[in-house]
Amino acid sequence: MNVSLLERPTPLRTGAAVIASRWRPTRIAVCEAGPLTPDRDAGCRAVSDLVATLSSLGCEVFVGDESAGSLPGHVQRFSPDAVVISRPGLFARLHASLTDIAVPKLFFAHDLHHVRLSLQRAFDPALDPRAAEVMRLVEGFCFRTADLSVLPTTAEAAAATTAFPGAAIVAAPYFAMPTEPRMPRPPGPVRLVFVGGAAHAPNRDGVAWFIREIWPTLHASGIAQCLAVCGAWPRALVDSLARPGVEFHGPLSEPALAAVMRSSTAGIAPLRFGAGLKRKTLDYLSRGLPVLSTVFGVQGLFPCGPGRDPPGVIVCAGPADWIAAVRRLGRDATAWQTLSEAGHDFITTEFSSAVHRDGIHRILQALGVCP
């Protein structure tokens, strides 16, 4: 991978070298607030995918980590042609330090945080009521200040454009999903899987809600045997959510996660609030696993509604929907097969590396820094 963590080389002085330097690769500085942990966090996965795709397009990429210190200086020495800043907090902090670098700044927004915080408040009374207001102000600053902002869904890009007039905001693919072989339906009783850690509030709320409100009926009536929760969950939460048939696996390596997925009948995304594209949903579908989800778990995939579920997905509302959907997948092998194939085909078509590369290339064109 053509990722540079080095400072800019000493400027070349000879005539030939000067000509060569005009043909140097496009340099993109990608800034994050902390070290990249793509196995733990979908946002980091999106940044990792961005870095990989930029490199595949021939860019020289500097990945900067604010928590390591001196990020503005590192960016300046790299002498980038454009700077990508991930997440609103970092953009807001870093922008003032980069005003001297006269290159386009791209805000890699991930989602509309203030919308998610507003929705979260309905389920989490402990959340400070001012949080959404403050975040909206910060995001407004980011969207208006950036030369270009990128969101992962067209709906959010449209909403942000309306909310922050004058800002240049586009939607582009955030994830390049690996091509996974489609898995066969596992034999035996229904097993469900959820991928995601408790650090993300929608995951924490959604899994707790599912385990408390839906799982007891599914398990007691024999509709489903096991729910595997994969990701980092603190011990206190695991203890409070312990129920027969519920297994907390903790963070898993890719092979271990693949094994859990292979043994599962469906992936679930029981999120009651949220924003942005959910990589967990894409991940289930990419392996041919049918998905049971709330509308929040499939945001950005398609406009969905009654009878218009995204390919491979059954969108569920209340507990009765969930129970009926799990029962159907357990009993109807044909329905399972149809969903599995549709979801797998959808990811292969819409979230491939090629689609991601095209999207990133269009962003570079919009910034005027095409390799």
């Binding site: 607030a33 902390g34 070290p35 942990t37 733990r40 966090d41 946002g43 980091c44 928590s67 997440r87 609103p88 907090g89 970092l90 807001a92 902090r93 922008h95 003032a96 005003t99 991930h110 989602d111 945080h113 998610r116 915080l117 400070d128 001012r130 949080a131 207001e133 403050v134 975040m135 102000l137 910060v138 407004g140 600053f141 200040t145 850690g197 650090a199 993300h200 509030a201 980092a232 603190p234 942005g276």
Partner: protein, 137 residues
Amino acid sequence: MSIEQRHRINTPSVIYDRAVGQTVVINLLTGHYFRLDEASSMLWERLETAPTAAALMASCTNPDDLAARLPAILNELQDHGLVAAVTDGTIPTDQPPASWTFAGFTLESFTDLEDILGLDPIHEADPTAGWPQARAA
């Protein structure tokens, strides 16, 4: 404080938004968040043009009331990093502030949203090793 000293809002590290009856101000570098009520917002708005203290008082219908409080107010705003003395002569405009009446100044300061501004709320800190790993104090 010299009455010819200009003070400006400390952009770009300070952002603010005027809403009905209040102004919300955020220092992006500290993550601190402030509220100004309607009366206090009057003074804040006039700092947008980086006026001198003399110009602020000249535009005020009750300059004696303002003069008694202005040095302390500007000090408080500077202490929070919200305004800065203009030292390089750069000013947004030479227009005098619009006429106004000083009706008091209260800066409500909140530091309890620092985490929301400082870290990324989409990926709150994992208790063990998850994202984002907050800097050690």
